[in-house]
Symmetry: C2
Subunit: 603 residues, 2 copies
């Protein structure tokens, strides 16, 4: 019934355009859903991209390669533009493992996972006064839209609209999503990007005691994440709440010399503070202690411009306002950065007579009556309106000064990378947005809130930076892309390798198969990538060689494997060889899996 | 050594600001990491938010409630603003399950998962000529940034920079991430949002045959997802490639009367096309067939403006250019939408004499020499330059016309919701971006590409819409938030319920515990949420009642449970009761788990 086959013979007279046979065009578009030749599966693209970059093999040391650059060179990720990261399969494995660690710990304390949109609105951010933030990414197409760097506004609106009552509380929410911050100068790769992965949690409680319980629980979950899961050296520091606001906050830091944060820790009570929040007393009994010879001054105003506060502190120290804000809570901290003329203009330009205005002079503890003070810029005042504070420390600590908490120990300083922050928010956001629940007395009441962040992609950048040594990365086993890397010596039979691979159930590994890379270079690459173990099949077969690449940050003296080795070592032909920093294990192939599992527990 | 306790007695003279005791402030900030009272875990917030919205319980039918509204009312998600969705825990469970189904199928065919940033750049989008797209979200802070609706540019750049050779190919990549499209009028909730979750995959092959193999493999993976995992009625349609470009594409559709797409399917060979790509022959032998009495005309130009194509088609039909583009591949399709004057101006305003220009007249098959044609707008031409095509169908099909593929069957129309699209791109993007690999002959060669999308959040919106009936949703078991909902009759002992719960290992369920909701309403809510099974513990104990809420889209006559029931029915006290649309099972509690697992297999 091919009534239309005549169409094959048409169009010969067409002299323009490219004429194609219709049938051919159509048949080419037929779906080949039942093709019987399976597509050959390819070797891992992670490997492929990896092996395109072997330029570090000749380097004697990777000390001079920045960790973010090395992540790129090894195919974990790509920086597509300043502050922006594309995650490759290898890096994504690390990211997902870390996300799941955090997810499990948040689930454990009863938080429930949401995923809020990255797009938020002027309407909400105006309610909390944060629409003007210059780090907020905004949208050209619609001036009412922004990309959210954090979600206090959106989640508060959502929970407000749910019209809950006190029996529904606490409401505990979290999400692990991409966030956006318009960093003008993004830098240090994952540590300060324009797009980043953050775990942000938000709690809604009936009152302050309930909110404190929630705050404690989150800090316990964080302790589990940092102490029991990741195991790298960390500190929890009292911190300034900054832009987020609220009256209490703690920062979670990895201790590292390359960190941008400065912490002070007491060698007696262990109290830790970020430098912004830190305070110390001079050790008056110390040999050679002297009061300051000369002082600098900082001027600031109270929010009502009715009081001028002049702060005198030693010329050789850095001013720190944090202790003062504990005493006087209506200080206008922005006035601290104004030129003196502007401060004075605000102080004197109001309607009330300057004669009636108040003055506070704050003398740092390190100043006495011998200290040379700068001239006071105002000459007209009532002596009655003058008061003095003489017992505050208003400078940043220096090492060796006395802890303000226990008044016993001395402070030690350390550099650190901030990776988490917990905030007790109180009613800052819920009040601004009129977010209420119905209380026991059937009355509307404002939520007591907390918010809790973990920089997920930041942790990966930090751990890359902290663990990198001259040979490459050293991932903690819980977030390593693989449990081990497998390197096979030349001439080892393939059937032997296949049999070995089929016996490592439950373990993940990355097999370096590229023929063009030399045996020694494969080992170097495996170490560079930083799986906790590098496994070599070679001349000692049926003994397998396991080089420990990971680091035992805790319990270094009694790693769990030693207990097992004591019992099973002989039977399993399991020996350990330690030369310098290199720890190698040899074990019979039949017991490889058990040994690896015991080794991983402390890595 | 409390050398500084004197500080407690200071500041009494201060008459401004709020002075707080320093010690109290500091002690309140101590971390309570070792608090021994565990925070009470709360009942699911999904449940809480759910039970705040019981307004549908009184409704006789949910037919008039839009599926996206019902998703919100039941606490699956919230629309925070037009086109923007916040996912709640309940909805997130559905989203995650669907993501994992797709992830597994992509992994099976050797694709590897990436996560590219949502932020892309003018530099890349200009290279492919897509920077001007008005649906591209752009950033105010930096005019060189946009939010990516798709990632051809970024992934092509990434793979180009990897400097691969032919042995590395194919490179097969995918990601499941949020995408952004500035819809001017976002509508229908998850079906057309400004932010949406998409699985997008990209392939890089050495040549056309290799690219076709990849294209086939992806379509096989899609077939697995739609046929074997989700099991809802779907069609695969030949489609227009639209903005994405490339020479071949197929759309994946759920068949549904509320869909915005129109498909035509042959009742003989089964060929399916989207209306944009569809063509049909009139059935000349049909009783009452008549050629068109009058014709409309459409004018269009070739890209070089050297040929005017005039297309005549019946006045009672819709013009469709797709068959014509198969014949003449340098048509300027944009000229189709220009006013006639502009078309003529472009045709006549060039330097060459209009006398030399070419004309093609295209007559739809339904036109003959009796048909009344509109006047031709140009009078000056050479007869030699005139050609005619008379055997094309240039109108949209109507039901009952003849299939252009087999020339046997008749076309049937159906409405559908597009949820996936596979494109063979060829060298469209790789050429524009000079993305090359090193071929066998050690020469640089342009990649042959494909790209493959699945609207992940769109599928959820579509399934919600398709499965919703007058009582609520009916999720396929593979993406249902829970395997079943548990409702307990009043007065059933709590210990009995706890024992029952502890015996359902491996199954997930949602227990409706709220005391304030009546028993009957709990059952209605459980059905509304749409888990495939609703389980009731009540008066028949130790028999458990299982109401089937899910739908058997395929194999409806021989669901798997029937085989099991034949063997075990008596022993397990398992009976089935079917009344109208309601299917209920009763089974002894000790065999509940086995029965549920067998029921879920076809739901």
């Amino acid at each position: 019934m091919l009534r239309y086959t005549r169409r094959l013979n048409v169009c010969k007279q067409l002299s323009t355009g490219t004429v194609r046979p219709l049938l051919r065009a159509i048949s080419a578009t037929n779906l080949r859903l039942h093709s019987s030749t399976p597509h050959p599966t390819t070797s891992s693209i992670s490997n492929q991209l990896l092996f395109t970059s072997t330029n570090h093999l000749k380097a004697k040391s990777l000390d001079d390669v920045h960790s973010y650059q090395l992540l790129q060179d090894l195919g974990f990720l790509t920086q597509s533009q300043a502050g922006i990261t594309h995650w490759h399969p290898l890096g994504l494995k690390v990211l997902r493992k870390l996300e799941n660690i955090i997810r499990n710990r948040m689930d454990q304390i009863g938080f429930e996972e949401f995923e809020l949109s990255s797009i938020s609105s002027k309407a909400l951010w105006s309610q909390t006064g944060r629409w003007g933030n210059t780090e907020l990414f905004k949208i050209s197409n619609d001036e009412n839209l922004c990309l959210a760097p954090t979600h206090e506004e959106e989640i508060t609106k959502l929970i407000k609209d749910a019209q809950l009552n006190h029996k529904n509380l606490p409401v505990l929410t979290y999400q692990i999503t991409r966030k956006y911050r318009y960093e003008k100068r993004p830098r240090m790769g994952l540590l300060r990007g324009r797009e980043f992965v953050m775990k942000d949690a938000y709690s809604f409680d009936v009152d302050y005691p309930a909110a404190m319980k929630t705050y404690d629980n989150v800090n316990k979950a964080y302790l589990n994440i940092f102490k029991n899961d990741l195991k790298l050296p960390f500190e929890v520091a009292k911190a300034d709440s900054g832009d987020i606001g609220g009256s209490m906050s703690h920062e979670w830091h990895f201790v590292n010399d390359k960190g941008e944060d400065l912490l002070y820790k007491c060698n007696s009570c262990g109290d830790v503070s970020n430098v912004e929040k830190a305070s110390s007393y001079p050790d008056l009994d110390a040999e050679g202690f002297e009061f300051a010879k000369a002082a600098n001054v900082k001027y600031l105003l109270t929010k009502d411009n009715e009081t001028l506060v002049s702060c005198y502190y030693p010329t050789d120290r850095e001013f720190n306002v944090s202790s003062l804000t504990e005493y006087i809570d209506d200080l206008d901290l922005k006035s601290l950065n104004l030129p003196l003329e502007e401060v004075l203009a605000r102080f004197q330009s109001t309607d009330t007579d300057v004669i009636l205005k108040k003055f506070i002079r704050v003398m740092d503890l390190r100043i006495n009556d011998q200290t040379d003070l700068p001239d006071f810029p105002i000459t007209m005042f009532q002596k009655n309106n003058f008061s003095m504070i003489t017992d505050l420390s208003i400078v940043e600590p220096v090492e060796g000064e006395i802890c303000i908490e226990c008044e016993e120990g001395q402070l030690e300083s350390m550099k650190a990378i901030e990776v988490g922050h917990t905030f007790y928010l109180g009613k800052k956001y819920s009040e601004a947005m009129s977010a209420k629940f119905v209380n026991k007395d059937n009355k509307p009441e404002i939520f007591d809130m907390g918010c809790y962040g973990i920089g997920v992609s930041r942790i990966i950048g930090a751990i890359a930076e902290i663990t990198k040594d001259s040979e490459g990365f050293r991932w903690p086993s819980v977030i390593s892309p693989y449990d081990f890397s497998l390197v096979v010596a030349p001439k080892v039979e393939e059937s032997l390798v296949e049999k070995f691979k089929s016996n490592v159930n439950g373990l993940t590994f990355n097999h370096f198969e590229n023929d063009k890379v030399l045996f020694g270079n494969k080992i170097r690459l495996a170490k560079m990538i930083g799986t906790p173990l590098v496994v070599i099949l070679g001349k000692n077969w049926p003994l397998v060689e396991i080089e420990v690449r990971g680091k035992r940050w805790v319990d270094a003296d009694t790693p769990e494997y030693k207990q097992l080795q004591e019992i099973k070592g002989e039977q399993w032909q399991w020996t350990t060889e330690i030369k310098g920093n290199v720890e190698k294990h040899y074990v019979h192939k039949d017991h490889f899996r058990d040994v690896v599992q015991s080794l991983l527990k402390n890595l």
